[in-house]
Symmetry: D2
Subunit: 376 residues, 4 copies
């Protein structure tokens, strides 16, 4: 009863490809049935077959795959788009319009207008357009969200998020193409580190708090001379319920490996989580002691319990956060409601927030509306 | 070019089953082609088919599977034995003798004699008999072993290991059959917590240090009245090169979730690792500062690099430690040498160590030979 | 050869009093010779005598003490001002003008103009006016500063500081006078949490980086309805050399006990420190592993070594950070140069930064000049 | 109303001297009134005067001090003995017999017989003979003891302690006299690392559990060839109530700076504490989450509250653990009961345990009676 799955991009040597392949297949929910895995058609075809795809479904590019799959009775149930950012919109649009469910890597689009178009198409076609904000699928992130919803923390007051690393800190390596493109407007668009990493943290703040970003004020810095786009950014924001947000992101934070951390403070308690130890939440009820909530402990919420595979204190890791996106996708494809699944609306909101941050940073930190026009 | 894989035990609801299924299949190396998954034949057949096994290879029990598979041209390349402990010997023996490669859950056997027999059969048949000491397949454990081999720490002086948890600490729950059997000689054999958890730590001490356990002295305690077998044990040991070992294991250590930790001290440095944060090693060169070695950092050893799927600071988790056993198995089945793979000899040595610890504890901590007779 | 020391404020039950008494006396450098310890003259006299002060030097108030001490041949060598904030200026001014050295609790004054006046008086009289930014006197904070000065990190790019706690998070307790005054403009002035805690972090950022704050942009929030002043603030800033700064401070961060942390990122390395584990710095050279620098390890810089009393891994604690201010004060009084000692200029700069942050927050995050007029 | 205090040993450059001077004087309870601080009489006299001792009470040696002080009306109320180990007995005995209260550094004596003699003298004279097991005076250690006494953990089952460091791991430095003497029977007696560090951990296990050590089994190792005495030891023990104990101590654990840790497991909960973060206890109630108890949090027990000087999350450090011994000594001298104060009986029990461990290690780990004859 496995679903058929197709992948575009994520070829040999790609960084995100393995996490998708492991995540989609680890639970036996999807079979890699088709792929257009590489910008080089021959390489892509060869690699797909090495991964077990039948020769006639090992495509040279996404257009070929679109043609090939739409004609089949056993067409893929889901297409993952893991190509370079600038192509996400076009491919996602085409597959949605052809009636496929899509999981798009972030960013979903390069402009707000494109984002709104994807939302409209997804709504019109009734197809699922998910966006891979995979950190939100860690069981303990779901648990934090459930705790907020349950009222355990009371009204949320402040959310403090950061996503910082030092992997782009070496000035001598700044012209390496693998690094350089992220800070080059011609390739990366209007934002560097904020769009690349910060946006995960912004999504998570909103995801856990259960409110949308309304306004923000940004301070961007490029700390290496040759860079145009920011490699360090601070964004203050307000969520719809008046929640105060602070978000720091950096690519020059030497010593931080993957410093994606979030703290949530409400009237009646606080919580802390870090992506480098994703299986624990530190929870502090007002007036009480800090206590450590463990993945797979008894009596966690429905989402956390459902998305956990291994016993307590057996680390599950990043690939299963991606895997949980696929778990929820499989369920959603089969008609179940999966509220935690990040969708086109989230991709759109993120794009609007990136644009707002750029505008704010350019105008000296002015507070600007961060909502996409269609949601104002 | 996937290998065909069969599983015995690990049915629905089993604790170790998911880790095997995820581990074997996550990297696309094995396909679950056959199974006898449950003590209840009907349940086992039904579950196997739900997992994608063809109806004629969804067997009711291991004997049926042995008959069925040995007759096939496309017989499974590897059989995993994840049944109750007392059956490991019989099943492993039968499949090895029929020419299958086997991955056996620990303990491989219930007696030293059986262990020696398995070693002899594996050697005679040329089949691989691996034993699932999966913690040794974490990339950073392999890195520690490589560091010892490289001489970075000089001669090793002391290894200190522990494997402690508190999940059997509730006296009110001691008669729950899921807990009780572990401390009942009729079901668990001669040892409780040491054979169950401590033995992983003893294997790892030997694995990292690169030397075999020669002698040991044990102190066992049963801290809950109704228990016959030990739920807390301390074992002092000596490795072949004179290395001093200390190993504490407990099932009544309330607050420890999965406290499997190891410290290795040599002439020129020390190292620390913990299974709850498996992607880091704390390394302290003599006279220098403690430094944190990260999984997937540049310039790790061949084994650590090969067994890593995700970028630095993206946790990989327990299932991929099991997965790494399968990675090495696939390579070994295809004829490559994989020295890190734990084999029947390790399973035998563990059994001899358990017996030695029981004997020592019974005789007031006397030092006893921990080697199996065939290796003396 | 002990110096005579007098204290104003810090009476029985005060929070900061014990740290001053322990800090000043632990090293045998100062003797408490005079005091006006309490707003209640009788209580203050009684308590001073209980602490060993001679009856004729146990004063009822600071004016009485000023008169009494200025007349004595054995007048105190140093006066510590630990009274309510609004009185710091008046008392500090009076004692400096009378020729005493002063250690003033922060904030040194309530306005920038007063701050400039203190700086002028200190310069004119040649008296030392120190301000108790005691965290900067932890040996490992001094070590971080020395590392920056030595060039080990290259040019500093980004400093990220936070000082957050949750001790004012209970809305039900917000009207408790011990909490309420901090958020009441009539008692606390123009700023709440930023002036109270954030300013320590801002001072430290500047102290370690070795540059002064030039401009800043602030976002203030009052998360409890009855509060006028901010209980949560984010301040972006720039130091003179173009260094980018981010500073978050909160009093409603439930679960953070004393979350004063700092991260410093340069071209060639990064460092992290936290006031809850003050004896360690995590240092990450560019391209290398994170390493843990320990207080009292061999070969630390002169300042760190000089201000350390106990062997490695014997925690020294907060009282000795205060004590280190007294160590440097004793040396400075005896004529030695102590560059690390925070002085009136630092107190003035802090006041200007508070005013700038208030102005920025009121004007929607506009970037404003944070320098005191006399230093522009 | 300060008490007069005299010190023997602890001269300039000594490691333990500063902790005593800070600890005794930080709270204003004792004044250093007399001293025989150095083996070199001239140096000792000079240093004592530099520390503020009057010339006629700056003695050349302990006998001179005994003569001088016993003749004075204002004789010291307490004498601290911090001389080389082999002299503790003689000096302590002499001062007790002369009617002084004594705080003796550990080990109190070199033999069990001497220990029994000190106990008898202390009892006969009614003088206090305290022994500086200062770690037991950390407020959070007192809190753990109070929790055990209150029954919060139920019957205690297992105590696991370790005290390990790597400061004697350098073989090239093993002949340095500052290290060498500890492993030389002629200077250190019968035991090296166990008597030096392990004994603190054994005392603490007994102190927290509230029971005495009855039997033990030891495994000693000398990991550097030139050493006679052990630099690594494991001791299994049983406390009077049947509590199981495990204790590892090492001086060759490179990377451990001051690894004094303790874990206590009872029927209803577990606790963990580490001397490198002494202000926190991790407490895990059976079936509940691990929670972090903080020094100075509300509602701690009487002892923890009384021995705390600074607010929550302001680290207090090692010197105040020593200081707490002096706080309790001052109270005891003034006639109050201070049950937590370690006394001659504890010093004697420690000596008996050292002897028992040596005997056990020599006889292959045999279980031996660890009680002093006078307490059997």
């Amino acid at each position: 009863m496995k679903l058929n799955w197709g992948m575009i991009g994520g070829g040999e040597g790609s960084q995100i490809g393995p996490a998708h392949r492991i995540g989609a297949q680890a639970d036996g929910l999807f079979t890699l049935a088709a792929g257009a895995l590489d910008a080089d058609p021959a390489k892509g075809r060869e690699y797909a077959q090495r991964l077990g795809v039948a020769p006639d479904r090992a495509y040279g590019d996404w257009r070929e795959m679109l043609e090939g799959e739409r004609a089949r009775a056993d067409r893929v149930d889901l297409v993952t788009v893991a190509t370079p950012n600038a192509t996400h919109f076009e491919i996602t649009k085409a597959f949605l319009e052809a009636g496929f469910h899509v999981l798009c890597e972030k960013p979903m689009t390069m402009t707000v207008e494109e984002g709104e178009e994807i939302v409209r198409i997804a709504r019109a076609t009734g197809r699922i357009c998910a966006v891979n904000y995979c950190y939100s699928a860690y069981p303990m992130v779901r648990e934090m969200r459930a705790m907020v919803r349950s009222g355990a923390l009371g009204r949320i007051r402040v959310v403090v998020a950061s996503f910082s690393h030092g992997h782009h800190a070496d000035a001598a390596n700044a012209d390496n193409p693998r690094v350089r493109w992220r800070y080059d407007p011609a390739q990366a668009g209007v934002s560097g580190q904020f769009a690349d990493c910060g946006i995960h943290a912004l999504h998570m703040a909103s995801f856990i708090a259960g409110d949308e970003v309304e306004t923000l004020s940004a301070d961007f810095a490029s700390t290496i001379e040759s860079r145009v786009l920011e490699d360090d950014a601070m964004v203050n924001f307000r969520l719809s319920g008046g929640i105060v947000g602070r978000l720091w992101t950096s690519a020059v934070a030497i010593g931080r490996q993957h410093g994606f951390d979030i703290q949530v403070f409400g009237e009646n308690g606080g919580m802390r989580w870090a992506s480098e130890r994703p299986d624990q939440v530190w929870y502090s009820p007002l007036g009480g002691r800090t206590q450590i909530i463990e993945k797979a402990e008894p009596a966690l919420g429905e989402d956390a319990a459902r998305l956990t595979r291994l016993p307590i204190a057996h680390p599950e890791g990043f690939a299963f956060a991606v895997g949980n996106i696929y778990v929820d996708l499989a369920a959603a494809i089969l008609g179940e409601t999966r509220n935690g699944l990040p969708r086109a609306e989230d991709g759109l909101r993120s794009m609007a927030a990136v644009m707002a941050a750029v505008e704010s940073a350019r105008s000296g930190g002015a507070w600007v509306d961060a909502r996409p026009p269609m949601f104002r």
